[in-house]
Amino acid sequence: MIKRNKLREYVSWYLLLLIPLVGTLVFNVYPLIQTVMDSFENMKGMFIGLVNYQILWEDDTFRQSVVNTLYMAVLGVCFNVPIAFVIATMLNSVPVAKNVYKVVFLLPMIMSMITVATLFKYLMMPGEEGVLNFLLEKIGLGPFNFLNDPATSRESLIVMVVWKGMGYNIILFFAGLQAVQRELYEAAKIDGANEWKQWLYITIPSMKSSFTFVIITSAIAALKRFTDVYAISGETGNPAGSLNTIMLYVYRNSFSTLNYKDLGKASSASVVLFIIILLITLLNFKLTGSDNTETRLPRRRRRSLK
């Protein structure tokens, strides 16, 4: 009798879970499976094996897009995460007007990427028309081509991306900082630790789970970079393909009205991106120790406890 009641309870929960499960199956799993299948087919749906992957392997444009994607992802995360954390720490220490500062840092995040990209395109216009060049000229520097020079376009884009995206990470870090036990700081103060040592030996270690989450989500978002590069360069990835990312490559080969549509190639590029994101996520978990290995007992010890 008790077992039947339990079963009924479980069935209710599973029925409730059916809703998001069906959504996930329909909108995530099925498209993923279909994409993998498409990657082995040509335009007419004929199976061609690994031909699309071979084409991808030999395609300089795709290789460039992978390099650009990884480079901008590393650069973006390396700047975004520490800057966001430092600002969050400062925000946490401010005695008054915390909410005002939170709004100020969050405002870029709520602006649409197209608006931000248009803004930065004109801020960074080459020559005297660009606001940045106008200001730099006053102090005897420039003019620079920023987004129009392949040598500086990726870095200029990352400035824009960090400006826009760090508000979200600031809020996440700020929330994480609230969970750090106050007693630790008090104890450290009693022991004579200054603020810098408290920050280094208490704050940062206590924020490990926040760092893991922020790094992983930032990395995934960076690897799927599309809207910002499309807003700046259109589907060309100009200048000279320096802003060409894997997602832009996929878009150009599947949705572009100007380009030859090659769904097989686009699907295989999507699968490659999926694998890259998966590997980097697993690597992130390993490096940040979030696979729980350090909390598990050694196997011999676990057996003896049984």
Binding site: N5, R8, E9, V11, S12, W13, L15, L16, L18, I19, V22, G23, V26, N42, M43, K44, M46, I48, V51, N52, Q54, I55, E58, T61, K121, Y122, M125, P126, G127, N145, L147, N148, P150, I232, S233, G234, T236, G237, N238, P239, A240, G241, S242, F255, T257, L258, N259, Y260, K261, D262, G264
Partner: protein
């Protein structure tokens, strides 16, 4: 409480599943409708219904903030069509230009439309019906009189030809409604300031570019910085035709493995025409503002402060200049003058784009849909209405344009004359178009010399051909 939770769970699950099953059954009904014939509203005896998709028309009338020109809304076009084709109930469905091809594809698959457009998409055999059976027996529009209805280039491009679907070679998936005719626009004021002769009708691309190159620097009259030219990588590949750098291709079978590699690929390696094309493009880029790589730098074009002498960005300026002409903004049109794209020695130029009206494979009533298609594309009033209100950068594909109000404008007559004789006629251009687009991205970014560009173009074409052969199993 547990019972309530269980009931709630069942209700929520059902709420999720019911819409999905309803969606599936709807597409089933549409397929049944095709075989059964009749009207979309269940055969009540009313007029037959045809659902027609038109991209880029807004639901309401809009006024362009720059030209002041009013574009009519979707309802106005629907009303006009029903006046001209009174025995059919035409339901227009508007979709935005952004992603229009994917939307057409999705709507075709879901049988949500009967009639729609296509341009040069190779996948049309998957979406649309072959109109050959209609063209073989229709008394009004048929294979025997197509050349009487439409211009020769338009007739050529009604026949489907693609390397990807050689089995569909020769089929007809749509009838032409519009024809592209892009323009280059120059600033007469700057020509006068610099004392450079204005473009002449028989100027070649090199002549135009040479004129542009004379106007980069400090304007002798105003003292402001001027740029002789402006272009973006988008559509730049079509100037290759004006240099005879690319060749028209003709095939009865469209089997890629029959392509003569020496004639259509290897020639690029040593071609003077290809080299001259890249030299021309390099000169345009050298005389353009720095921002052309990201399509910035021409924001002041059409304004008092314009600093660009010749705008070669035909994709952008073609429709905007026509809007000013139709709005009779003489303060703009007397200064910014459009010209057609120069031809090469082969007498050809431009982008062979034809908007063709087609019947969806799963159309509810194909016979009525055919009636709508042939009526729309051959009725001068309908074509005129559509072009004037919704597609001002295009011109008519009809041979006889007598009485069409758009040809009251002198420049449209010039465009029509030009297209009658100089449209690039080819059975395929994808072999060279995609590789050329990629090379031009490097050209506008000043990352490549003309000689390197030619080598890269050759490698790109060769790779495209070999990759496509591998994908097609040829």
């Amino acid at each position: 409480m547990k019972k309530t939770k269980r009931i709630l769970a069942i209700l929520l699950a059902a709420a999720m599943l019911v819409p999905m099953t309803v969606g599936c059954s709807n597409s089933g009904e549409a397929e049944g409708g095709t075989s059964g014939g009749g009207t979309a509203d269940g055969g009540s005896g009313a007029k037959p219904v045809v659902r027609m998709v038109v991209p880029g028309i807004s639901e309401q009338s809009t006024t362009d903030p720059i030209s002041g020109l009013t574009s009519l809304g979707l309802g106005d076009f629907e009303k006009f069509l029903e006046e001209k084709i009174p025995d059919v109930d035409i339901n227009l469905i508007s979709i935005p230009w952004d992603g229009w091809i994917q939307k057409i594809e999705a709507m075709s698959t879901a049988n949500e439309m009967d009639v729609a457009f296509f341009t040069n998409q190779v996948a049309v055999p998957d979406w649309y019906m072959d109109l050959t059976p209609y063209l073989e027996k229709d008394p009004d529009v048929n294979f025997d009189n197509l050349s009487e209805w439409f211009l020769e280039p338009a007739v050529h491009y009604t026949t489907y030809k693609s390397f990807n679907y050689p089995e569909a070679t020769g089929k007809v998936y749509g009838l032409p409604l519009t024809m592209a005719c892009n323009s280059i626009v120059y600033d007469k004021q700057l020509f006068e300031d610099w004392g450079v002769e204005e473009p002449q009708p028989d100027d070649t691309m090199d002549d135009l570019i040479a004129k542009a190159a004379q106007m980069t620097g400090t304007n002798p009259k105003t003292g402001k910085t001027n740029y002789g030219a402006y272009a973006t990588s988008m559509w730049m590949e079509w100037y290759a035709i004006s240099y005879d750098a690319v060749k028209p291709y003709s095939s009865d079978t469209m089997m890629l493995n029959e392509l003569d590699m020496d004639e259509y690929v290897n020639y690029i390696k040593d071609s003077d025409e290809v080299l001259n094309y890249f030299k021309g493009m390099e000169t345009i880029v050298a005389n353009s503002p720095e921002g052309i790589a990201t399509s910035t730098g021409a924001e002041k074009f059409y304004t008092e402060d314009n600093d660009i002498a010749i705008n070669f960005d035909t994709n952008t300026v073609s429709s905007s200049v026509m809007k000013y002409i139709y709005a009779e903004k003489t303060d703009v049109t007397e200064r910014f003058i459009p010209i057609t794209i120069p031809t090469g020695e082969n007498g050809q130029q431009g982008f062979p784009e034809f908007f063709r009206l087609a019947i969806n494979k799963g159309a509810n009533d194909p016979d009525t849909a055919w009636k709508v298609v042939k009526s729309v594309v051959t009725n001068k009033e309908i074509v005129d209405f559509y072009l004037t209100n919704y597609a001002s950068d295009k011109i008519s594909a009809l041979r006889d344009t007598e009485g069409m109000s758009m040809y009251d404008y002198e420049y449209n007559k010039v465009r029509h004359e030009k297209q009658m004789s100089s449209v690039f006629i080819t059975d395929d251009y994808w072999t060279w178009r995609t590789p050329l687009q990629e090379v031009n991205n490097l050209v506008v970014s000043k990352e490549i010399t003309p000689e390197e560009a030619r080598t890269k173009f050759y490698e790109g074409v060769e790779t495209w051909v070999n990759n496509t052969k591998a994908q097609l199993g040829q």
